[in-house]
Symmetry: C2
Subunit: 90 residues, 2 copies
DNA sequence: TTGACACGCAACCCTGTGATTGCGTATTGT
DNA sequence: ACAATACGCAATCACAGGGTTGCGTGTCAA
């Protein structure tokens, strides 16, 4: 089930912060996102940990990524959020 | 943070099933809910496990409960869901 | 060409938590 | 009064998952 992954993705605070950043700047590299989370939000975490979070967000369909040279471009997608919630909100 | 509890509550499939049931029948006892989950949804789980889930849902504000005799009445509340999601959905 | 850089992969650790089990308690019907 | 019931509390267990560490790889600028 796709929605299971969406809720799982939302269950972690760091991932929600990542979605906050990605919803404001729809397109940025993983490197930019990592820097931003550490600088502005004071997140103390390794690059690898954030990469794993991105993988999970991508599985949930909330983020799509594309290799562009040595960078990994990230794009936010809010559709799975709507689809997951209209189950209770009518 | 209240919203942390909401997302935590939604991260479990059993709890989401409980919300499904509670959103259809807004008011029912814990006993009814337990029976319904086992009968209709084929959930193989103990009563105590469901009680702990209810405690968590109550902490998140998604369910309010009230002791009525030897029964525990449960009432669904969707407001925390809306409040938690308008962060990304505008 | 060579070095710095942005990233991927895999193993490991440790905490959180979903679930069970056992027992106790207040309520209800007979 | 007494038994069945609906529920609460506490200890315990097993496993998923977040995080780190180490190493390897492709890319780009000098």
């Amino acid at each position: 089930m796709q929605k299971d992954l969406v809720f799982k993705a939302l269950s972690d605070q760091t991932r929600r912060l990542m979605l906050d950043e990605l919803s404001e700047r729809k397109e940025q590299t993983l490197y930019e996102l990592t820097a931003r989370l550490i600088m502005r939000h004071g997140v103390a975490i390794s690059r690898q940990a954030l990469a794993k979070h991105i993988d999970l967000l991508e599985q949930a369909g909330l983020v799509s990524s594309e290799k562009r040279g040595k960078y990994r471009m990230l794009v936010f997608n809010d559709e799975p959020l709507r689809a997951a919630m209209d189950r209770w909100l009518k």
